[in-house]
């Protein structure tokens, strides 16, 4: 007991601080170098007509020409259309599938969760390649199906009016894996007593689902909505592999355009401006979703 209590306290505090920083430091340095610096840098680049060989300050010129750019407008429209349809399907189908799975035995539940999850661990590029083959207008599987019911073959990916819908279709025909797993977990954590009480009051299966399940899993719904929206806005692999953004600009999405602008035309400043707009749109949508859906559910 030679040292006074406060000295021990300070020494202890210092020790804890020191090691805390030590463990967090590598990750922190990484995030500073590869997240914060690039984001600020991208913001600055978006005001320059930068190319790999340098560039000068042009103020808002990049943004101004993007607003007037027909291709950029098409890309935003394509991406928004893709996102709204695919996200709605993702939420609806994952909730439906998770609810259906919930009524099965434990063994079947595990089986179906795995079956629906498997496509998600396989490379998006490879799945997109298969879809391209399935959509092949001469020998593809889909036109074979149409042939069976005596319908004329469709040029799924080469008809500019159809191509974007084909890409959307390929997303709609896949059960959203993350949603199923997360909804399953959320459904499993709802106390059975709620349903029993509702049964005593004479509620049917649908009434119980609508009045108990849906409100209680709202936090999961919000999370999935935000995450799926972010993912859908970033759609790239599918488009790059299946159509490359064509025919014409029919399937060009924002990220495909960022790739073309930055790494095919080497217009770094313009690509940075497109990236900032993508960021702004995603942030805006996420904020709106939080605003309207955020509730504190406790049970």
């Amino acid at each position: 007991m030679a040292r006074p209590a406060w000295a021990v306290g300070v020494a202890r505090f210092w020790n804890k601080n020191k090691w805390g920083y030590f463990f967090v430091l590598p990750a922190l340095v990484f995030f500073i170098v590869f997240f914060f610096v690039p984001i600020v840098w991208a913001f600055l680049l978006s005001f320059q007509d930068a190319t790999p060989f340098g560039g000068r300050w042009v103020g808002l010129a990049n943004y101004r020409s993007l607003l007037k750019d027909e291709v950029f407008r098409v890309a935003v429209r394509n991406t928004t259309l893709y996102t709204s349809i695919v996200v709605a399907q993702n939420i609806f189908v994952s909730l439906a599938v998770a609810s259906l799975i919930q009524s099965l035995s434990a063994r079947l539940r595990t089986f179906f969760r795995a079956a629906f999850y498997l496509p998600a661990v396989t490379s998006a590029v490879m799945i997109a390649l298969v879809w391209r083959w399935i959509f092949n207008s001469e020998w593809g599987f889909l036109n074979f199906l149409l042939g069976i019911v005596h319908l004329a073959p469709v040029r799924w990916l080469s008809d500019p009016d159809v191509a974007l819908w084909s890409i959307i279709l390929s997303s709609l025909l896949t059960v959203p894996a993350t949603g199923v797993v997360m909804y399953s977990a959320a459904l499993g954590s709802i106390p059975v007593s709620y349903y029993e009480a509702a049964s005593l009051d004479g509620a049917g299966t649908l009434a119980k689902w609508w009045y108990i399940t849906v409100p209680l899993i709202k936090p999961t719904t919000l999370y999935l909505l935000v995450v799926y929206t972010i993912w859908a806005f970033q759609v790239f692999e599918k488009v790059y592999v299946m159509t490359g953004g064509g025919p014409g600009w029919a399937t060009t999405t924002i990220v495909q355009l960022i790739y073309n602008t930055g790494f095919r035309d080497w217009k770094f400043g313009m690509a940075a401006a497109q990236g900032m707009i993508l960021f702004a749109v995603i942030a805006l949508v996420a904020v709106i979703q939080f605003r309207y859906l955020n509730t504190d559910v406790e049970y």
Binding site: N17, V24, P38, L104, F112, A185, I258, G262
Partner: protein, 307 residues
Amino acid sequence: MKITRQQTETGQSGESRAPSLVFPANSGEPARRSRRPRLAVNLPLLLLSLMAVVSLFPLYWLFVSALTPSQYSLKMPPDLFPVHASFENFQRLFQYTPVFKWMSNSLLIALSVTAFHVLFDTMAGYGFAKKRFAGSKALFWIILATLMVPFQVKLVPVFKMVTTLGLADSFWGVVLPSFADVFGIFLMKQYLQTIPSELIEAAYVDGASELRIFWQLIIPLAAPAIAALSIFSFVGSWNSFLWPLIVLRSGDKYTLPVGIATIQGEFSQDWGVIMAGGAIAVIPMTIFFLLFQRYFLEGVRTGALKG
């Protein structure tokens, strides 16, 4: 006295104290099910089976097409089953493309990314979960906030950084920008928070150093979470496309997805060869998934995998 206490606690913590990684979903369901009429049980099963068939069809078609030689694949109606199965497509793939090189590139990159994630994410997760230090909350939230920023925003600056460092078109150019991972830090923090602090205190009392506690106590205790983290880091890296596509320029440095996506121009009428390439990329992940399913599903719950 102290020693025995620590030993018993450490001994039991690995299995019984650490919470189950797989979600506690299976509670109380069977009692409810038995009262339902038979039809209500079968209708969901039917619907789910149908959806599973549709959802898994592209994978099935990938394997069928990979095994079907070109003279049988360009015809109507197509073979719905691999009745003419042969490895012809694979032979041609091996002959005309450096697919083994791509595979080893992908494997090396995925293993390195995984190793870095495990080390740095576990360290940071431990720091945030168990160390109290000035600004820890703020730093954690700042790291989490980076999730809001789409990866594509940083493409140009990170590309410029990598080029400046002379790492364009190289292994390190692909690996360096993915040293640590937000989801991994989040997962490790959540998991390590559930480990009783008394365990760590006891190790202190016994005079163990910070680093020794980390290596010999925290890492073994966090093994289930580390397994989940490794698996989804590996899969994420194996399947990643946009960044390697931008950084890698020469054909022998490509990863498998970049390589296969690139040959689709060359082999545009030779779908079997492309599908064979796809199968080679997909088979390891499928096996991996079937073996370590429960860790995958834990990774999903933290939002680590896309899909």
